[in-house]
């Protein structure tokens, strides 16, 4: 039982922090990125080495773990950076690392690690909530390949993706090149201003080599848990930045002849936000450690506990920050709203607090409920 961070951890954290401070100016945090800015930032994040952090050294990555991903995600969360990486590209690469064929890995992973290719995760379907169901996207074997039909929704970074990891058929995962005839993307932005899209496969034919053999729902769930852990870390960074932002505002805004921060009722709100923050940080660590666990039940229980804790903290701190900014907090100009919206997106992604509470209870019944 030890949460200590090493010197290498701190060095990584500080490097990402320094990068984010320069790349994402505070007064613009959360603004929707034009395609050119998005592309240049992607190249810069690649240069920093983020995309290869957890990719094996055999494929030109750094071979690190979910803990290093957590540290990077926290820093991105502070400045609302990172685009679609954590929610989409990270779990797609995870699936390839865990279950991809050698040829698939050597084709994609080295290029992903340096930011030259993007692979997005396309798993969600219309009508689903958070449990993985049998996909309505069909996969019919044809000659030596597969014929795919159906639509995947809310795929982060769909417009910029070179390929998709698609769940289809009874229980299969495929890599689908974005240029495949029959693949189209309906692009839109999610409420945090980030690019996403619905991906339609209309008679898209892929080769037999596109099937990720041996990968099914269990691997997909592991990838989603892995990304959920990273999103927990991202949210924690955003919560921390939002507390700082809001406290700074309370120190400068004067009403009734004094700075708002002099009012005790507002001071107590700060104390509660700080308590939420510290617990979120702890559970982000727990989620990162659980993300690497081979025990699916233990992993589910701990990651769900983290998502509940951080989901509730994110909702409370987001609402509090808007309230503390008063009418300013309702404007698009004010950064509080941008943070609150990103936190809202994270909460609705891969399961909200209510969903994860139920999932936790289900897995509680199977475990003994004690960490020891």
């Amino acid at each position: 039982m030890d949460f200590s961070l090493t010197g290498d951890h701190l060095a990584l954290r500080d490097a990402v922090r320094k990068f984010c401070d320069g790349e994402y100016p505070l007064h613009q945090c959360g603004n929707a990125e034009a395609a050119t800015l998005s592309a240049s930032r992607w190249a810069a994040l690649a240069e920093l080495g983020l995309f290869g952090l957890d990719i094996s050294a055999a494929y030109d990555g750094s071979g690190l773990t979910a803990v290093e991903i957590m540290l990077a995600a926290q820093e991105l969360g502070r400045r609302l950076g990172g685009g679609s990486w954590i929610a989409s590209n990270l779990p797609a690469a995870y699936i390839l690392s865990k279950a991809g064929r050698d040829a698939q890995r050597s084709t994609w992973l080295p290029k992903i690690a340096v930011g030259r290719r993007r692979l997005s995760l396309a798993y969600l379907e219309s009508g689903w909530r958070y449990d993985l169901a049998k996909p309505a996207v069909t996969a019919v074997q044809q000659n030596r390949g597969w014929l795919l039909n159906g639509t995947k929704i809310n795929v982060p970074g769909a417009d910029a993706a070179d390929g998709f990891v698609v769940s289809a058929g009874d229980d299969a995962l495929f890599i689908v090149d974005a240029r495949t005839p029959g693949v189209s993307v309906q692009s839109f932005r999610t409420l945090d201003g980030r690019a996403a899209g619905h991906v339609t496969l209309d008679g898209a034919t892929v080769s037999g080599e596109a099937l990720i053999t041996g990968a099914g729902r269990a691997v997909l769930q592991a990838a989603i848990d892995y990304a959920t852990a990273a999103l927990c870390a991202e949210a924690t960074g955003a919560i921390e930045a939002l507390i700082d932002l809001t406290t700074d505002y309370l120190k400068t805004r004067e009403q009734f002849g004094q700075p708002l921060v002099k009012f005790q009722v507002l001071q107590h709100g700060i104390a509660d936000a700080l308590i939420d923050l510290e617990q979120s940080k702890s559970m982000a660590c727990v989620a990162a450690l659980a993300a690497g666990s081979e025990d699916a039940g233990q992993r589910a229980r701990l990651i769900s506990a983290a998502k509940v804790t951080i989901g509730n903290a994110a909702r409370r701190v987001g609402q509090w920050a808007i309230q503390m900014h008063g009418a300013m907090g309702m404007t698009d100009e004010c950064r509080a709203g941008h943070y609150a919206k990103r936190l809202l997106v994270i909460n609705q992604m891969f399961g909200d607090a209510s969903y994860h509470l139920q999932r936790f209870i289900k897995h509680m019944a199977q475990g003994n409920g004690n960490e020891s």
Partner: protein, 394 residues
């Protein structure tokens, strides 16, 4: 970083678990698990066994006869002892006075008082609060006036836990009037048998009388009973209330009471109730988040935004969480919580036949008693003041 305990810590956990299983008297375990009132003899029955094993002062370093455990070992001990049905360690001697004497006591004071605390021969009461000095503790008005090699103490202390079965009192008294109320307070030790001391138990909301008021009327206290420097008592009192991080979240107690919720739900047909399961699940998660936060704060390079008030954060969250668990216990009791039988709560033969199932009848009293934990040791409101002040001035 790793979630697993080391093999050494796991071995230690098993050692504590089997010790508790083999040495905790069954009658005492039953009293604790039923939430009945405990007297000095009950606590002593357990502490004596801990003493024989060398574990009666879990937080003390070896040089003072403690086991010299790491914070993690103390945490494991606390959890295993409480989950095993042992009474908690009463704070005043071991957790409060002990560390102050170790920090600023004279050699003579240490030699005289520390071993007797460890052997649970001397029981200490804490005399801080007064009628006009609650959260604003610096307003103490009990005076101590020098008279040769003695002080003459006059005043009125309030909310003194267990004073009715304590031998000694450590208290804050005013030895100098000052424009700043924190100055001029002295930390002093008083023998409860000294003439001029009257203890009056206060009947509390749960029917118990663990709290008392103490009247001090021309009580003569030897000057050697001053701890640390004269007029500097405020800083020692603050040290005593704020230095403890390991146990303050009450994780072991919370786990003990959550286990009680589960057992009662099972016994009373509520095991499949979805609303109860949802609330219990939510509390389990909150407890986990708090537990890992306590453990994280012990780890290297994981200091919080406001390290100086980590104890306050853990206290606020830990006590509020524990109160929620007691609320849930009360709900589980349902109508069984209504009958109230003083004798049965003491563990004596109550009304015959019993007026409520024995496992339910203490729950209302326990719930009411639990309201104190966000009041004592610095109210939640005072703690929130401390947390925000530390953050805003950092």
């Amino acid at each position: 970083m790793k979630l697993e305990f080391s093999a050494e810590d796991e071995a230690f956990r098993l050692e504590v678990r089997s010790f508790v299983r083999d040495h905790l008297p069954a009658w005492l375990k039953r009293k604790v698990e039923l939430g009945l009132r405990l007297e000095r003899a009950d606590y002593v029955a357990w502490y004596e066994r801990l003493y024989e094993r060398g574990w009666s002062a879990p937080s003390w370093p070896k040089e003072y006869g403690g086991p010299g455990w790491t914070p993690l070992q103390r945490y494991i001990f606390d959890e295993e002892a409480l989950l095993g049905g042992a009474p908690r360690i009463i704070a005043s001697g071991i957790l409060m006075l002990g560390p102050v004497l170790m920090a600023v006591g004279t050699q003579e004071q240490k030699a005289r008082y520390l071993p007797a605390i460890r052997r649970s021969e001397t029981w200490w009461a804490q005399g801080f609060s007064e009628p006009g000095a609650g959260s604003d503790l610096a307003q103490v008005r009990t005076t101590a006036v020098r008279d040769g090699d003695h002080f003459i103490v006059n005043g009125h202390k309030l909310w003194t836990s267990y004073a009715h079965f304590c031998d000694m009192l450590f208290c804050l008294v005013r030895t100098e009037s000052s424009s700043k109320p924190q100055n001029g307070i002295t930390f002093m030790l008083i023998d409860m048998k000294t003439p001029g001391i009257t203890v009056r138990p206060i009947r509390m909301i749960d029917g118990g009388n663990d709290l008392n008021e103490i009247y001090l009327d021309n009580v003569r206290v030897p000057a050697e009973n001053v701890v640390g420097e004269l007029n500097k008592g405020w800083s020692y009192g603050k040290y005593l209330l704020g230095h403890e991080r390991t146990g303050i979240a009450g994780i072991g107690s919370s786990k003990q009471q959550i286990a009680r919720v589960r057992a009662l739900a099972q016994a009373h047909g509520l095991a499949d109730d979805p609303a109860l399961a949802a609330r219990l699940g939510a509390l389990e998660i909150q407890l986990m988040a708090l537990e890992f936060t306590g453990l994280r704060m012990l780890s290297k390079n994981q200091e919080s935004r406001v390290p100086s008030v980590e104890a306050s954060m853990l206290k606020v969250r830990g006590t509020e969480l524990r109160q929620e668990i007691y609320e849930l216990l009360l709900e589980v009791a349902g109508p069984g919580a209504l009958p109230f039988d003083e004798a049965a709560l003491r563990g004596d033969q109550g009304l015959v036949p019993p007026v409520a199932p024995p496992d339910l009848m203490s729950l209302a009293a326990n719930y009411l008693d639990s309201r104190k934990i966000t009041i004592y040791g610095g109210t939640s409101e005072v703690q929130r003041n401390l947390i925000s002040k530390a953050f805003l001035t950092a």
